[in-house]
Symmetry: none
Subunit: 339 residues, 3 copies
């Protein structure tokens, strides 16, 4: 009954702590489950041949949409499948379904694509060769190759962008700030990485980091519009460096763009190995989260426009607008293709 | 890919918090997963026809063996199947498999049988009729009927055994004590120190100890006045000795003093390094917590006076009163200075 | 952004599990956050110069008042600052602010003062020298010196008071009991049922109760044989009455029987609806757990025989023996049938 090949399934009932006070499950909870399923299936696959043992580390999550809200008491079904392998990386596609066990209603809430890289356990830093999978037809392999090339390019570009200038400081005093400005809603949290955040080999699970990012983005969004807010999508996230147990992680968020019905929040994760003096603080991850605001019936509300106060904020707003329009165009194109 | 009928599967990677210090997963962790899978599949089944909605409550677990130990880092696969239905109950059989994703080794660790009864949500106390399942052959149904009859008999017998004479209780029996005495509200808990309670170097965070202390103090306060109680202050706490992972911590609280609107509770923390035989049990921390009682609007309520039963309690009450008056005087002095 | 010198800030949204059923955040939750912020800032400070690495351990918390209640859904902001350093200790002042992100209302809920001592990681027991901080004026340093002297005196006094006579313990004192008796290993815990222990309809999951039962049984077994112990089996468990949110559950365990290689522990669960005055305390569940003891290679060890002290214990031992022999016979019969 257990399918243990290239599929993996995980399901869990949603509890009060997985959700906000209105009962909507946090996007971060879902991202964490997606990554757990992806981590299990790719680690299992990369250890399927004899040789060095390895653990698959999350390298990238493609843009992910949250198609329907999920609620406390529903069962989340997360199923993962390996869809492409290159020499040193694994592509996993994950579907999330919500099931109301009282009414029987089921909804697809997410589709996500994750990339993993297998790190050797015996020889730290060494990357293992990935056993190839079998494709049902040559087109499948061809399309995977294209996706692989596209994500590789994007990872390189982000790496360069992050490298050249560590972004300026977030946390000035919010209290004196005007409502609807960037400074008013910007937020940050810190978290000391403990054992249950980590894999057996003391590196933070990618899903744990994404959950913290979603928490900060949610606080920024709620401060801006003071309503029930939910995650609508997350842009591609690249994980450049692994974070180890004992680090203090600081996660900061600021609003970059608002459209009529959505807000974009930039989230930055820095890691600080407190005790380990050799390594300094480093930028671990950055990403853009999009949130919407819901009324009591679950219908989208208008978003108060973001007040921009300086040139840099204007620049970031324009960049956010470009991403917004690009995603809109993509969604439209997809819809047409499906019809 | 999701089988949503009479099967249900759940899998989860085992974390440090699921296991003891040697890495063996706690039996309790496995029992909890087994019951989660059973609860989901039986609630889903009992809501599969139109009519009143219900939730399946666990009525009985048959004898369960733990065939092989499970370890941190392994993936637990829990699969549940409905194997018999009577008019008002559901039998679920659950198998647990451990998978080492590095070596690929798999082992059956548990086989369990659980019985659920569906309770109506609209009409509390009412039991719903269970939709019958289809059996692949008449023998299957016959054997289920026998298991049903056997468990029903055993449940009745235990009920009678429990009914006629409440067994002598282990701890100092609160039930025979008079209300508002020290003995009536005194409480204690034990906690096995796990990885997420600790720093990177395996010593308990001071904050974890304080949280347990407040939990016990809160239960003492609630037992005394049976209302919504909140922490008002904590006296200075000194941490004389550090507590290590794997210790059993016992935290005990007793009421020492009541004023009109507040209660003082003394909390004592003892640590017992179970396995580490060289060191004995030691007193780790003691402190005084002050609680107040609130009505529905959040206004302080009068506290029932503490009934003192012996000289020692009188002495502790007087000491508590002295601390109370001293703190009151300090607060007044501070107020005056600020004006 | 985060000032990483002598300031540190942490913020987190308050969840259902952080609070009681009325929504008031537990004092213990706040104390835990205060200590986390204090521990991070002082560990970072003490590692700011080259030399031995260390971790700052909490030595003392000054008297702390809870000025305003905090509620689920509010964001707690905890900010910590180093305000004094002596040669071997660090004083940290922590402020806690609650923010209602929907209304924007903010309130100071706590001010706390903590003292930390830096312990060397390479050389256990050695205390590191603390890098001095700079004071903005000489008065500041002078006042810090006075606070340091005052707390040192108080610490010494408590140590002496605790030293000369271990205070009478609340619970039936295990320490005066002979090893290997029932009274020596018997244990009990209390647990306040919170939201994540419950179904959507506020009844405790059967799995949560079983996990607590296994935890107590494990502590009884470890106290008896002081080795690595694991659950071998659980006898049939009947759940007669459902336990509701807000109840205090007390779980007690005592050893009933030992064979050469196994121990049987009886576990009793009582539920007490604290606030709900109409219903009294009731017996919710009872069960028998069997544990075995393992050596470092995972092989079963001999169990020290249980010392029986009265007639009742002899009676329970005989009943346990009967269950043991019955289960052994069943296992043998099953084996034969399978061959």
């Amino acid at each position: 009954m257990l399918e243990m090949g290239s599929h993996h399934q995980l399901s869990r009932i949603m509890r009060p702590d997985d959700a906000n006070i209105v009962g909507n499950v946090h996007g971060g909870t879902i991202l964490k489950m997606i990554e757990e399923a992806g981590g299990i299936i790719s680690t299992r696959h990369c250890n399927s041949l004899p040789g060095d043992r390895c653990v698959a580390a999350l390298a990238r999550v493609e843009r992910t949409d949250f198609l329907h809200p999920m609620f406390i008491g529903e069962v989340a079904h997360v199923s993962a499948e390996i869809t492409y392998t290159s020499r040193h990386s694994v592509e996993v596609q994950v579907n999330v379904l919500s099931e109301n066990i009282l009414t029987g209603a089921k909804k697809v809430t997410n589709k996500a694509t994750l990339w993993y890289v297998p790190f050797c356990l015996q020889n730290v830093g060494k990357i293992i060769e990935v056993p190839p999978i079998e494709y049902s037809n040559p087109e499948q392999e061809e399309e995977g190759k294209k996706r692989y090339a596209a994500q590789k390019l994007d990872r390189l570009e982000t790496k360069e962008r992050n490298g050249d200038a560590i972004m300026p400081v977030l946390n000035p005093d919010r209290q004196t700030k005007e409502a609807y400005t960037v400074a008013f809603s910007q937020s940050s949290l810190i978290h000391l990485v403990g054992p249950s955040d980590c894999t057996l080999h003391s590196y933070v699970h990618g899903g744990v980091t994404m959950k913290l990012m979603d928490e900060v983005a949610g606080i920024v969004a709620a401060r801006h519009c003071k309503t029930n807010i939910v995650t609508a999508s997350v842009d591609a996230i690249n994980f450049h460096r692994k974070i180890k147990i004992g680090c203090v992680v600081s996660v900061s968020g600021r609003m970059t763009f608002t459209s009529n019905k959505s807000m974009e929040i930039e989230v930055i994760v820095d890691a600080d190995p407190l005790v380990d003096a050799e390594k300094g603080k480093f930028r671990a991850v950055t990403a853009f989260f999009t949130y919407i605001s819901l009324d009591k019936e679950g219908k989208p509300l208008a978003i108060p426009p973001l007040k921009l106060e300086n040139e840099e904020e204007h620049k970031r707003f324009e960049e956010g607008k470009a991403r917004y329009l690009q995603n809109k165009a993509k969604r439209l194109a997809e819809k047409e293709r499906q019809q």
